[in-house]
Amino acid sequence: MILSVIFEASGLLLNYLQTGSSSLGFTDQSIWRVGGGNFFDFAYSTAISAVASVTAVELVSLGIVTLMFTPYFRVIAAVFYYSIEKDWKYVAITVFVFAVITAALFTF
């Protein structure tokens, strides 16, 4: 849990890179637009291209990816926690939540 705060802080710090003008345009061709595909694809391609070239878009994307992983890890941690506690009801419950979220992340 403490980790999530650290992750988030670093993610947001990464976010803080600003480019040129301060107006936020929302066109279909905007580099900031997420065009589709599922989150895991996005995370993966962000990781790859961030290593290649550090641009504003990459940093912000990296920050957002980190941000989105924090609740995800929380669920995974819970699954492990209840497994260790041998609380099988809650292993089932947390696994179900994990499955729903993962399915959403994969499908969309």
């Binding site: 999530s4 947001l12 936020l24 900031w32 989105m68 819970a78 609380d87 979220i101």
Partner: protein, 278 residues
């Protein structure tokens, strides 16, 4: 056109007010940004990601403090997560012509939040009898209440009724890009018998996972703009961290009155916007 500074200010304000009452702030951000001219669906998609930030920020300290009831959170999350995905799918499929419904739905939802907060204002915590389902799920806990210096034990009940309620909250959350905190704490407290502080803490914990489920749908939809999402995330975090510091110094009544005023303004605004589109 919205610029970064405006978005930042709005989200700081929203995060601040939201943290004082136990909300993520998206209920404030989306109406204000749409009022300033942003397409409502874009505001919703970006807010969905931003509230993950507020949730994660507060969740860790609440869990460490022993305030969040993790079991309750995950049990309820079963329903909320599914609802959120469905809600997000609905919004991402809406055409610009059908946006009107979003405005009215949002206004209706803000109204339930209004009652949620209004109804809580004088409630005292009394313990409830656990029903057998709740007992089987082990829904109970205790926390240390700093102001009184006492350890409060509590039991929760009626999880079977709370489930469907959270499903509806989830749909609203996914559709409107919000955490639906106001609605959720009402369910926690009125149906399940949760003490207020546990309710807020648990709601914050749930919101992160729910927002993640909803956000993943928006990723595919082409409605998400990272520049906006990131700005909102930063703003709400700043606002809510500040709010958490200020909160101990404010009286409960002040906080609630402030929030009710803000909500009333937003409701009027949303209805107005919807009406002009019709």
């Amino acid at each position: 056109m919205i610029d970064i500074l405006t978005a930042l200010l709005v989200s700081v304000f929203a995060g601040f007010i939201g943290s004082l009452v136990g909300l993520g702030g998206a209920v404030i951000i989306t109406p204000v940004l749409t009022f300033l001219g942003l397409d409502i669906r874009l505001a919703i998609a970006a807010s969905m990601v931003a509230i993950i930030a507020t949730s994660s920020g507060s969740a860790s300290s609440y869990v460490r403090g022993g305030l969040s009831n993790i079991r309750a959170a995950f049990y309820l999350e079963i329903f909320t997560a599914v609802g959120a995905v469905i809600g997000a799918i609905i919004t991402s499929r809406i055409t610009p012509n059908e946006e009107v419904y979003l405005y009215f739905f949002f206004a209706a939802f803000l109204t339930t939040s209004f009652y949620g907060i209004f109804g809580r204002r004088n409630r005292e915590f009394t313990s409830v009898k656990q029903d057998s389902f709740a007992k089987w799920l082990g829904l109970e806990g205790s926390y240390f209440d700093k102001p009184t210096g006492k350890t409060v034990d509590y039991k929760l009940t009626r999880p079977a009724a709370a489930g469907p309620g959270m499903f509806v909250a989830g749909i609203a959350a996914g559709m409107l890009g919000i955490g639906a905190g106001g609605f959720k704490v009402s369910i926690h407290e009125l149906i399940m018998g949760m003490p207020s502080k546990v309710s807020t803490a648990t709601s914050n914990f749930i919101i992160g996972m729910t927002a993640l489920a909803g956000a993943s749908v928006y990723f595919d939809s082409g409605l998400l703009y990272l520049n906006l999402a990131a700005t909102l995330a930063i703003g709400t975090t700043i606002g809510s961290t500040t709010g958490a510091r200020v909160l101990p110094r404010l009286r409960n009544k002040t906080v609630k009155a402030l929030f009710l005023i803000v909500l009333a303004v937003l409701i009027v605004q949303m209805v107005y916007k919807g009406a002009t589109l019709v």
